[in-house]
Each structure stands twice: as C-alpha cells, then as structure tokens.
Amino acid sequence: MAKRIEAYNVSSYYGSFKAIDNISMTVEPKTITALIGPSGCGKSTFLRSINRMHEVLPGARIEGRLTIDDQNIYDSDVDVTAVRRMIGMVFQRPNPFPTMSIYENVVAGLRLNGVRKKSLLDEACEKSLVAANLWNEVKDRLDRPGAGLSGGQQQRLCIARTIAVEPQVVLMDEPCSALDPISTLAIEDLMFKLKDRFTIIIVTHNMQQAARVSDRTGFFSIDKTGDPGRLIEYDDTQKIFSNPSEKKTEDYITGRFG
C-alpha cells in the first residue's frame, strides 16, 4: 500500500524563477511527515512537485529526481495521470466538485479510472466515507450537493474522494488552514487513522499541528524574498521541536522570526 518517497536534488522553477533549490529528503512508508516554514519558502511547491501537480502551471518545471519505490516519477515514459492516481492530494481549501452530489464526489476518481459497476462504486463510497470519518454524518443524504456541507465536512469529503482511488501516498497542502479548531481536530484524528494505510505528507503553518501529528518534520526557509526555498533541517519531529540542530530552525519554532 504505502510507499517510500525519495527526492534527490529537486529544484522547481516557475519560468525563470527558482522556487526551491536542491531539496533532498526521504519519506518512509506509513509515516506522517510535516513540512513547515514561513510563507513563500517553497513547501507547497515541493509538495506539488511530488505528484507532478507543479507542472500544471504554465512555465513550471523541475530538475532532479523524485522516486517512489525507486521509480523516478519524472522519467519521460511515466504516465503523469498514473503518478497522480498513486499520489493523491488534498488542497488548502475544500474543493468538492460543485455540480456533484456527495456520492458523485467520492466516486469521481473511480469513474475517471473507468469503474462503472454500481455495486463497486457503492462499496467504495461507503468505505471511503467511513475511513474519512464522515459516513455517519452524510449517509442519509448522499444525493445532496457536496458543496452544501460545512467547511470541515467538505474537507473530509475531499479526503474521502482522494483515498477512494486507493493511492499509496496522500499529500495535504495546509488542509486545515480554512477550518475551525473542532474541524481541524477531526482532520488530525483522521490523519492518525489513515497513517496505517498511507504515507502522508502535510504542509502546515500551524507548528502545534506539525508537533501533534507528524513523525518527521522538515523545516524550509528562504534567506530573503526572491531567493529559492531550501530545506534547512529534516529530522524526527520530537528532535526538531525540542532540540533542533540548526539555529534557524530554533529561531522559527520559538517564534523569533517568520
């Protein structure tokens, strides 16, 4: 199910602007890895490079190698849609398809992959919603619009939609930044539960959240505006938050900058 991700000297560009510089890190299967750092330091760019969503933007490109179980996802013969199916993504703002019902949203990924059989779809829908801790709240109104749910429910719906296609890795780009504390807690509980099945990488601005949920933490930073983001330190979460090796990390987590 879950797979190891390794980045070797990854640099990402928007046109001629270098957003991240020479990032290398290894993410072990079935762990939660948090990426923290000030705004504009390239956390999200790196995250989007992992499932090749970075290149969706015009002019965006990447250098270096990114492997998932030793297969370079940037090899020229790799099907980009297969990469994205294997590495799911949850976005900053809940983005259920506005024209679809709750049910249709959850099975949208399966439909895209050619699953047509109603019984399979029904089963996957229930399973994913249960896994996303949303089933009990929506089981009586699966035909209602997904966009009619509350923000926290919508985000869990998006998580259900992501895990319905059974990815190996789930990327989360500040999944709780648009949510209230209760909904945030619900998502964090859910992440612990999902850790048994998936490798999770989460970008967050909330350092308590990183400390609460993650096994490993990577700290990104930039020297000044316009410079590319760098991975300053990457270590066990406990070490990063209690005894970081780098002065910059310590300054950031103690609130002295950023």
Partner: protein
Amino acid sequence: MGDTSPRSAETGTGGTLTTDGRRGSAGGGVPPAHTPDSPGLGGGGGLPRRTRFGMESGFRVLTLAAGAMVLVIIVAIAVFLISKAVPALRANTENFFTFNGWSPNGTEPRFGIAALAFGTVLSAVLALLVAVPVALGIALFLSHYAPRRIATPLGFVIDLLAAVPSVVFGLWGRDVFINPVRDFSVWLNEYFGWLPIFGGDGPFGRSIMLGALVLAIMVLPIITSLSREVFLQTPAMNEEAALALGATKWEMIRTAVLPYGKPGIIAAVMLGLGRALGETIALAMTLGITFDISANLIENGGNTIAANIANAFGEANDTGRGALIASGLVLFAITLVVNMTARAIIYRRREFRDSAA
C-alpha cells in the same frame, strides 16, 4: 433621521456615508456652522439630517422608471400586434395553423403559418446542430488548450465575426457559399439520395441546408464567446482537484469544466437559437422560398417566418400586413417557449449551483 421612516432600511448606507464625510471635514478644522443644512456640520447638536430629495431617492426613481419602461414596451408591442393581427385572421378563408400557402392580399385571403413555422424551426435547429459542437470546440480550445498568444487574437477574430452585418452574410451565402453547398448537395443526392432528406431531383443550392449553414456561421461567435467566458470561470481549484485524481486534460474538462459551465452553455445556445429563429434578411436571400412542409434539405426551397415577412411586406395590403403580423406573433410564441424551456433546464439544477458559491 426619523421624519420619514418607511425607507430607513435602504437609506441607512447613504446616511452613514454622509455622517462619515461630515465628521471628516469637521475634524479637518472647519468651524461648526449654524444652519443645519450646511456641510461641515457634525460638531453641533445631534446627527445630521437625511436629505429628502438627494441622489439616493433620485436614483431610485430612475431605476424604477427604467424597470417600468420594459413592461410598458412589452405591453405596447403585444397590444399592437394583436390589434393588427386579429382582423386579418378573421378575414382568412383557410385554417391559419394548417394551410400551406401565403396569399393574403386577394379578395379571399388565404394564408397559413404551418410551412413557415416548420421552416423556421428546421433551419434554426439545423444551424445549432452544426454550430454548437464547433463553437464549444473553439471555446474549449481558446480557454484550455491554446497558448495565450494565440487565444487572444483568435478570440478577437471570432468576436469580429459577430460584427459582420447579416445582409453581408446573406449576399455572401447567395453568391459565393452557394457554389460549394450546391456541389456538396449534388454529391449527397447521388450517394445518399435514398434518404428522404437528401432525395429529390433538384435543382439544388438555395436550400434549407444553405440557409442553415449560413445561420450556423452567424450564431457561431455568440455561442463561442459566451461559452469561452463560462469555461474560463471554472474555479482553478476544481480543475486541480480533477487533475490530482489522475484525470487527463480531457477528463478534467468533462469532470470539472463542462458540468460547471452547463447552465452557461445552455444559456449561450439559447441565445444562439434566439438569433437563428429571428434571423431575417440572410435567410430571405439564401432560401428558395416555397410553402411546402418538406424534410428535404438540399432541394431549392424552404422559408421562414422572418424571411417571409421581409419578402412579402413590400406588396402587402392591410390584410396582408395583418397576416404578416400574425405570423410574427407565432414567431414570438416560439421564441418564448424556447426561452422558458431553457430557464426551466437551468432552474432544475439550481441547488447545485447555489451551494457552489
């Protein structure tokens, strides 16, 4: 405040603004005046008074008048049409709805709408069948496939197409475009003549097909530019959601862009249909002008309500004009039904759109 209360809800904003403005000028060092109406007050006693006949109520009256104008015009047109049509319909010696022919100017007026209404709907529907797929294709190309330096000028050219007067389209259709269409019709007749729509012995050319194709070109820009706008409005986060699920570009368009744009597409198509149904001069110039109900698309012939009005108006007497006005009423009714159907379709899925916002 308080001398006229019924509109206090609407005037609340205006009142606040005024207060702010006055407070600002008072703070700026203007000494308090004594007359309650002079600006720059605010330091004196109580809140400034609401102006009774200011911009706010003036603008209200203006918009109300503009809104009422629409109703007045509609009613006036309806009254005019009906008052002119009824005497002619009374004088008609045939059934208006079933008779195929148009000779309302004699002593025994005989005219019927059947063939005209049929031709109107047939040519418009055919035009849409051709134009809609092409227009949606162009719109998707412009919004999602073409690089910007191609999309912008191409979009401009499409909009330019909408600026060509319909009489020019008519001339072009009748003198230039007719040649390839005639050749194509002969070819169709030779190989697909066993189909009733492509049958007949000719002559070919000034046919429903020519009229419909010219119409298709005319409605193309309006459908294209409206759907392009709609497609561009698809939230980027929905497109990314589809891509992140492993959708190809086309699958992303089917999952996120087209469903989101559906009401807009329907509206665009209905606008195009409205133009196609009402188009007059281009069809008057390209159609063969007959009064048969025939499904044959390639033989000379065909007629529409609007084209018939343009062709027959010159030599019409009083009854003739009344008859033409009656046909105009039918066209109005057809357009109305089309519009209401479109609205019903859009309305049905409203819940899914409202919650999207």
